[in-house]
Subunit: 323 residues, 2 copies
């Protein structure tokens, strides 16, 4: 049962100290959501800490006030309320972040992942929203909270990165009206997009070349997959965020229904990113077979290796799910 | 001196037959603009022909009513008015298309290229608009012309493809409001974007790999360039539209100010596509030194080869233009 914006607003009004957390290996919607709501609450006079298990990734340093994102402190924070943002399940907040928030007496859970099991005391899960950032825009403007410039920019980046730049089916009339309103509020759209998309480290382009060299099409051209070994990762000196979004290259191949990205992780596990282009193939359902989750058209798994075995098992499940 | 929408509307009202033409090697804004205005005029009861020197490219076949785009007939058409859309200068309409329109007694020229020399009898050049499609949206809605579904979809694709999916600095509040309005008018945003961006032929991904293998950085990492020979073009069986937009991959490298794509063409000429990420480097000015043109941040040249000589000359001019 979703809490209304007003009920969430009452929690904001009644308390003074908040810790905002997003998921491990944070993306634009995760960090953007933390900055958007955190700085709005701060502008409303609240004490706010912004914690992420993995800290701030290099590719989001350009966001105004991004230095506010902290690694979890060793000791639990003295805060009244913890707010989980854009995080499909509680473990994905990370052990250290959970420890940092362990003194909170109330949990608020705001998200757009349909698999979210509502682990908060108050939950607002809107899987029709293309990004948690768009939910927060509505929350902030509906409640009449301040919207500092840094929150404004963070909301735009959250939504832009989670919609493939206003392209995915989840994008609505409201999404475009929001973007127009953010420009009216002073957003420099060319600058923010340039910072978001035009400052890829050269090693990301090298990674693209390396991935293209492993590309395979199977299932009569309906499944495209490529992979990244630890060896290539080390050789190129990659950072976790370098591969973000690259899967769209193979997702975009004509005839491909499911695109898959297999990555060896430093801990020996295999991360699988899955994209579906066809409503008949629910990527979230396939990933849940291996303990993963996400959205119908974009989901993921973190599973045991080795790479070759993970590929075999997942590709088999994908082929069974093909229409 | 720009004609007002009303003056253009009077030309529409006073005449019955129109030929609409866009530039050679048409892109989404060219074909989209022809369909957008052409089908609106037809819905208003006019006789309309849509001509392009190179016909309809494969990657835009998905546009509703795209079969209406014709190659130029051998004999001049019996039409009263010719409308040039999205075409920076008259020769870029193509010899055969110009011949087809040669009986027109009035030329209307609607475009967003700042280098457009106003070659029409009526001209409406708005270089502040991110796409000719957005000018036509304003024209059609201001004049109260019908907006058939096919026009609606064509406008969206024209603007989306010419703004890098609502990212370039030319994107305005008005652009997003327009997109919202098109959704309100029934646009299926997920479907149209999927058709626009997710149906790349496999050979385009092979081309991407081939281009990445020629990538070079010069000018202290501020200039990135890659090239395509006729040999690779033949080997992969490429079509002209396959390379569209790929330059954004190298434009997006951190530190790069100017990105260049050099292509050998079947006629022995070299096509140069140039992108600038810095307002201090005017790509249009650099390209005009070689007889090219375009916009400040996106311009092009068609020049004599061989490839190596063209690269040398253009790279030299680019380095002189660096801040």
């Amino acid at each position: 049962m979703n809490a209304s914006y007003q009920e969430i607003g009452e929690v904001f009004a009644k308390h003074d100290s908040f810790v905002l957390i997003s998921h491990v290996r944070p993306d634009g919607d995760a960090i953007g959501s933390q900055l958007a709501l955190g700085l709005a609450l701060e502008a409303a006079g609240k004490k706010v800490r912004l914690i992420n298990e993995d800290g701030l990734p290099d590719n989001l340093v350009f966001l105004p006030e991004s230095h506010r994102i902290e690694l979890p402190p060793a000791e639990p924070l003295d805060v009244e309320v913890a707010i989980a943002l854009d995080t499909a399940n509680k473990p994905r907040l990370g052990d250290n972040a959970l420890n940092a928030a362990s003194k909170a007496k109330l949990w608020v859970n705001i998200d757009h992942h349909k698999s979210n099991p509502c682990y908060g005391d108050l939950n607002h899960i809107d899987s029709s929203s293309p990004a948690t950032g768009q939910i927060l825009y509505k929350l902030i403007t509906t409640l009449g909270l301040p919207l500092p410039d840094a929150s404004r920019d963070a909301i735009y980046v959250a939504v832009s990165t989670d919609t493939g730049s206003f392209q995915y089916p989840s994008t609505t009339e409201e999404t475009y009206l929001m973007a127009a309103d953010l420009i009216r509020r002073g957003l420099d759209v060319g600058r923010i997009n340039s910072l978001t998309y035009d400052h890829n480290p050269y090693r990301r382009v090298e990674l693209m070349r390396a991935l293209l060299n492993t590309l395979e099409l199977t299932g009569d051209g309906r499944v495209a997959h490529w992979d990244l070994t630890m060896e290539v990762r080390d050789h190129l000196g990659l950072k976790p965020e370098d591969s973000e979004g690259l899967i769209d290259i193979i997702r975009g191949i004509d005839g491909v229904i499911v695109a898959l990205f297999f990555e060896e992780l430093p801990d020996g596990k295999i991360r699988v990113s899955m994209r579906s282009k066809d409503a008949r193939v629910d990527a979230c359902n396939v990933c849940m077979q291996f303990g993963g989750g996400g959205h119908a058209l974009a989901a993921g798994i973190r599973m045991t290796g080795p790479l070759s075995a993970a590929k075999e098992r997942v590709l088999e499940a994908v082929k069974l799910a093909l229409p």
